[in-house]
Every structure is written in C-alpha cells, then in structure tokens.
Amino acid sequence: MATVFFPTLVRQQTGGLAQIEVPGATVGELIIAIEARFPGISKHLLRPNLAISVDDEVTPLGVLEPVRPDSEVHFIAAISGG
C-alpha cells in the first residue's frame, strides 16, 4: 500500500494523523480511499495551490499518476519560477 503524507494544515481533518497507508493504483484511487475514511478531505488535498509529489517528484499527471505499493505521496506548495 502506498503512503500518503498529509500536509500539516490538513491534519485537522485527520485527527492529527500525519500519514496513512492506503490501497490504490493511482493517486486518484488513493484519494478516493482516503475520502472514504475522512469525508470531505479531498477538497483540502486537491487545491490549485498544491502540487502532488509521487516518489519525490512533482507529477504533471496529478491524480492520474500511477503509484506503486512502496510509493510516497506528498502534497506540496505549487512552485512557479522566475
């Protein structure tokens, strides 16, 4: 099962839980599984100011990005550049 790390400010929705292992083959499937456990959380994770990082790389595929059982998923500030 892949590990999803909750941003600090989303942990209010998880009762303080920082990370969770959930089943799924894509980021989207992981989020569906998390939403089932913490209803309403997905809108805090899928926000325009947050980018999705899978295995230490920001993914352009977003929720469609495949994950492996040992994958790490983070939600980090979306970065622009100069």
């Binding site: 352009p60 979306a78 622009s80 550049g81």
Partner: protein
C-alpha cells in the same frame, strides 16, 4: 561529476540571434509598426487604497485624436471563484482581472484604472489625464506585520483571515527534542524590502481584434501560451480565438509571466477597430507591474557540539501586494532546503498589502528566506569556531535527504558546490586590508518541468530548422539548437531556430523556472531522436537493409555510409521530407544549488560598501553552453548584490513609491561591480538525457546572505534589514 564527452554540448558557439541583436535588427515589442496602428496610455491610481466612486471618461472621449477609452466596466464580469490554470501557479480570475483594470477599489498606487487609445502616445496621455475619477481614500497598510495586526485596514472582504490569504506549515520530527539536543541556538529576524526585477525593456503589448473575432497580440512575454491563456480568460473568449506572437524580450526574470497590458490593448482595439499599441513608462513598470515581495523572516537554528543541526524553525510573512500569491510557499520550502535537518517547523503567511501585486523574480521567495538561514548559520559557525563552509558541509543535503515539505532529494550537488567554494582561489586568498570582510552563503532552487514542444524539419542541404515556442531571454535558441545538433551529429550552426506564435507550435510553458534548456531541451532532444529514426529508415530503404547504425552524424550499414547531409539530400527520393515534433511534460527536474563568496570593503565614516571580489558557484548539471551558464550566474549575482545593498521600493506613508525611476531605484551600474568569477559545477541530473538542471535562478539565492555575512566581518555588525545601504550600516 560529468564524464560523458560531447561534440557540441559544452562548446561556446555564437548565438543564432546574435547578429540581429548587435545590429539593431531584432524586433522587440515596442519596435512593432502596423498599418493604421494607434497608441494607448493607461491612467493609474494616485491612491494606495481607495474606493472608486465615479469614473467619467467623457472629456477623454471627446479629446481630438482619441479613438477609444476603456475601464473595468468594458470587461466581462469575473465569476467569484473561477481559477485560471496556467500550468504553473494557478490564479483567481477575479484577481487577474482586478489587477488589469481596477473595479470597485484601487488597491495600490499605480493600479490601472482606465486606458485610452489615440492617434499617438502623447495625445493618449493627454486624454488619459482628462479622465475624472472620484476616489474615497481608505487607510492603507504597507507591510506584512502591520497587515497581520488586529485592526489593520482590510484589502479584500472575501479572505477568511483578514489580510492573510494563505497559511503554510511544514513539520518534521520533534522540534522541542531537537532544540534540547542543541548546544548552540541562534534566532534572528530579518526584513527585506520590496524589489523589482528591473528588466530594461518596459512591458508592451500590441493587439488587433479583427472583425472575425480573432485577436492577435504581439507582446514581450516570458510565455506566449500563458499570455494567450490569461488574455483569453480576462476577455472571456476561447483560447483558440487568441494568437500571441512573442516579440524579442528585453529581460523578464519572472516579471514578464503575468499579463498587464495585453487584454487592455485588445479591448481598446475592439472598440477602436484598429491595432493598438501600449508601452509602459519606467514609472509604470515600477508601480504597475509585479515586484517581488518584501518579507519578514524569523529563523531559529540549534546545533550540537559536532556541528550537526538538531532543529530548525522558521516563521515567514511575505507581502503579496494587492492580491494573494506572495511566493511564501517556495520561501518556506527552500528556507532549510540545503540541509539535512531531522526536526523542523516552518510556518508561512501570504499577506496582502497595498502595494503592487507581486510577481516572480528569479527563484521567487527563496532569497528572502535564505537570508535568514544563511546569516544564522554564519553566526553559529563563529560561535562554534568552525569555518562557515565546514559547518554547511557537515549538514549538507544529499541524495535521499528529506525536505521538511516531504519529498526526498534525488542526486543533488550541495556537497560538490560547497567543496568547490572551499577549494576556490578566492576562498583561499587573503583579504586586502582593514574594513574588509568575506562572506559566503548557499541557496537552493527547485527548477521547473512543465510542457514544451518542438518541431525539427530536415532541409535538403543537411541543415535542420528548429521551430519552438520558448521566448529567448538569454541564448536559449542556441542552447536548444546545440541539443538538437548533439543528437543529430551536426554543428550548432547547422540548426536554424525560430520562435513562433501560439498557432504555429505545440503548447510551451514559460521561459522561467530555469526550465527552458531542460524542458524545451528535452522536447528538442526527443524530436531529434525521431528524426534519427526516420532518417535511419530512409537509409535502410536505400540500402535495402533492416538495421542502420547512426553515430556522430553518420548513418551506416554493411560498410556503406551517409553523412547526415548526404542522406538529407536524398530524402525527396526516399519518401519525402522528414519533419518531426515532440511535446513533453517531463518529470525528472533537477534542483540546483548555488553558492557565493563575496569580499566587501566598508567606509567606516560613510557606511558605503564597495564590492571587491565575487565568485559565483553553481551546479548546472551539465552546462550546454558554458558562456551562457556563466552569464546566468553573473546576472543573478549582480541582481542579488543590488538587492542586498541598495535596491528597494521606498514608499511614503501614503503608499506612494518615491523612487520609481532608475535614478533613485539604484540598480548596480558597471562601476558598482567587479568582474564576477564563476565556477560551474556539473553533477548531472539523471532526469535529463544530457544531465541539464537549469541554471537561471538558484544564483540569486545566496547573495543577500553572503553580503550580510561579509558586512558583518567588515563592520562587526549583524544587520536585520535588507537593503543594507550605507545609512543602515551606520544605524542612521
């Protein structure tokens, strides 16, 4: 370190657009002349915060020579919560539209209120001055700490936390336990002023709204597709109705990603039925575009006897300007990014204030936060009696180090950059005399991926046309052509690059985020590989073989061979021309570490700082064109030194910028800088076929702190405010 040998990559060919740019032939946005073109002027708010009670444009409309006047009322309403996705950094449409022409309230001095198109720019300016605007002035708030305080004037009624638009928080490990392990703890708070990118070419846009509904925009932009998408969103037309032709661009550094004039020129054109050109004055550029945030950053770092950082805490408040989006996210993510720290807490606040809406500026957000971290580390090194580079080496991030925001580094060149600094002739040279000081600092920037497209067409003479959409700010035509040439076994000059409009190439993101040589380079690389495959197939057809080898520009099979040019000449007879495209949206972005060593001399009576010697060190991954890599390092260093020493938005209490000219903004002149030595470190990025990391930004991260550290060594004073100008140095 880089070991692969290349034929073209790593050489220094003359840039393809060079002759045009040294002879005055290159066409920048303001150079455009179109038949029947008229000229515009923008009326801007004199108030930093005021309600607009009434706008009367009748006198301007009646002024001889005027064709059209527009205000926010001419633009479609922005749905309250619509978000525009530009691929990087999404924006609320209401903010975008509100910034282009104010409606309801003006939020900063310089906020555009109305625009006029007339027979020439002088008449347009005279007419704009005749527009009557009744304002109800409101109290203004100009700094993040003031804007966060209870009772501060509120800019936007719809933000949930007063003037705080966004909270950021990253936590890792156990902060209290970490500080408990520390033997030395230093905490400092440092402010930085609002500064501008300072590109020499003012913003400009020419637009023609045709009677068939198609809108053609010519402008100076870092990203033609972003300009297209943003303009279409503001004008509420489908993106396919807008074509953006990127003109040559006179500098950007992050400041020419947002649109300001483009939709206004388009709306004026719609009303006037003629092409309309808008060009900003220098004061407009300072007050009406996006500078980069001023900030307050507090950093606390604890280190044990072994010189290992046990805990680090940061609090960051960045001034977004009039609309949310202060780059505090990247500021927070980079504040400790160079180091492997087990226990971390980072809190960031994106705070709106009555200043121009901020924009990116080379590694946006990172110099502000690195200033605090790198000066605190300097102080700790001194307390421990450790060389400041040695302290950094003991804590340097490396492959596998986890950042506080979560992800772990892949291959990263932090140790290599620090070792290069330590071994440099500069670091090992004595200081020239009294009142002198040497400072060091390092910094990190992520760099970006994002989509890019390229098309390669093989000419019968053996050369190749490269069609691409990345506007060329610093030699990217050549760094891209070199990557094509390397794959195709050609010389850089055999590739003919052209940057085309948004109708003529696949989607390409901005020239920003240090991404062009990486991402568009990857598109070029991939397209070149397809060319090779197709050319192999042609050779196979000619030779009636199954397998053709390709190496160093020569196709061969069974003892037969063709040079690239020989085979190119036969394409017509083997099935027709070869033309291949690729569009990428890559992962594999490699972050870059930069370091700076700087020597200064301070006049103890006047506080004047002279910069004596500078060495910039940066991990380029692989330097495609080393001269342009050096140029990026030197340019970012120069901007950082200007930021550190003299540049700032000097606002009066009413929020009016008092120094909105090059005379008083005080960017460095040639006489203010020495030669800038460079050391290119090459730790190849495994995510790019040639190892490219991108070099445009990380170099501006270290200078603020390096200058502060050098000033400390020269004066014994730790300053808590940037710019560290002469009066600040003397405490006057």
């Amino acid at each position: 370190m880089s070991t692969t040998t290349y034929n073209v990559i790593g050489t220094r060919p003359v840039r393809h657009d060079g002759a045009d740019k040294v002879t005055g032939r290159a066409l920048y946005g303001a150079d455009l002349q179109l038949a029947r073109m008229i000229h515009g002027a923008v009326l801007r708010s004199p108030h930093a915060h005021a309600r607009i009670l009434r706008i009367d444009t009748s006198k301007a409309e009646a002024f001889p020579g005027v064709f059209a006047v527009v205000t926010a009322a001419d633009f479609p309403e922005a749905p309250a919560d619509k978000i525009v996705d530009f691929g990087e950094g999404d924006t609320m449409l209401s903010s975008l539209r509100g910034n282009i022409l104010a409606s309801g309230k003006v939020l900063y001095s310089g906020h555009a209120v109305a625009a006029v198109a007339a027979v020439n720019a002088h008449v347009a300016a005279e007419a704009a001055a005749l527009i009557e605007v009744d304002y109800e002035p409101l109290p203004c708030v100009l700094t993040a700490p003031e804007a966060m305080a209870p009772g501060a004037p509120i800019l936007h009624d719809d933000l949930p936390n007063g003037n705080v638009a966004e909270l950021i928080r990253y936590e890792m490990g156990d902060l209290d336990a970490g500080f408990a392990e520390a033997t030395v703890i230093v905490e400092r708070e440092l402010d930085t002023a609002t500064v501008h990118q300072g590109y020499i070419e003012p913003q400009n846009a020419t637009a023609f709204w045709s009677s068939d509904g198609r809108i053609h925009i010519w402008c100076s932009t870092q990203g033609s597709f972003v300009a297209r998408d943003a303009s279409a969103a503001v004008l509420d037309v489908p993106v396919s109705q807008v074509k953006v032709t990127p003109m040559e661009i006179g500098g950007g550094f992050g400041g020419k990603i947002n649109v300001y004039l483009e939709p206004v020129a388009a709306m004026l054109s719609k009303k006037a039925g003629r092409p309309v050109k808008l060009v900003m004055s220098r004061r407009d550029v300072f007050t009406g575009t996006g500078p980069t945030p001023g900030s307050r950053v507090r950093v606390k770092i604890g280190v044990n006897d072994a010189g290992k950082i046990t805990a680090a805490q940061a609090w960051l408040a960045y001034e977004a300007g009039a609309y949310p989006g202060a780059m505090v996210g990247p500021g927070a993510m980079t504040v400790f990014a160079c180091y492997d720290i087990p226990n971390v807490l980072i809190e960031g606040f994106d705070v709106v204030v009555n200043k121009p809406s901020t924009a990116a500026y080379r590694a946006p957000g990172a110099p502000n936060s690195a200033l605090a971290t790198e000066t605190v580390l300097d102080e700790i090194a001194e307390k421990l009696g450790l060389d400041p580079l040695e302290l950094r080496l003991r804590n340097a991030a490396q492959e596998g180090t986890r950042r506080a925001d979560g992800p772990r580094y892949k291959r990263i060149g932090c140790i290599e950059v620090l070792e290069a600094m330590k071994a440099s002739p500069h670091y090992n040279a004595p200081l020239p005399g009294p009142n002198c000081g040497r400072g060091v600092a390092i910094g990190f920037w992520f760099n970006a991926g994002l989509p890019s497209s390229a098309t390669l067409s093989v000419n019968a003479d053996g050369t190749v046309n490269l069609i691409e959409g990345s506007t060329d700010i610093g030699g990217s035509r050549t760094s891209l052509s070199m990557q094509a040439a390397e794959v195709l076994g050609l010389r850089a000059e055999d590739i003919h690059p052209t940057i085309v409009d948004t109708d003529s190439v696949g989607y390409t993101g901005v020239t920003g985020g240090s991404r062009t040589t990486f991402s568009t380079g990857l598109a070029v690389h991939d397209a070149a590989q397809i060319v090779v495959e197709q050319m192999k197939a042609r050779a196979a057809r000619l030779w009636a073989v199954d397998e053709v080898a390709f190496s160093n520009g020569v196709f061969s099979a069974n003892g037969q061979s063709f040079t690239f040019a020989e085979l190119a000449a036969q394409l017509g007879a083997t099935g027709g021309p070869v033309s291949c495209s690729a569009t990428v949206n890559p992962k594999g972005v490699g972050g870059s570490i930069a370091g700076l060593i700087i020597d200064v001399k301070v006049d103890p009576e006047t506080g004047k700082t002279d910069v004596l010697r500078v060495t910039s060190v940066q991990d380029a991954g692989k330097a495609i064109h080393p001269a342009y890599v050096e140029g990026q390092m030197q340019g970012g260093t120069a901007q950082g030194i200007g930021w550190a020493l003299n540049e700032e938005y000097f606002m009066d209490t009413a929020g009016d910028m008092r120094n909105g000219s090059y005379l008083d903004y005080r960017m460095p002149t040639a006489l203010d800088l020495p030669m800038i030595e460079t050391i290119i470190v090459e730790v190849p990025n495994p995510g790019h076929p040639f190892g490219v990391r991108g070099v445009g930004e990380a170099n501006i991260v270290p200078p603020l702190a390096a200058v502060a550290n050098a000033l400390y060594r020269a004066t014994g004073k730790r300053l808590n405010r940037v710019p560290m100008n002469p009066a600040t140095i003397l405490g006057l």
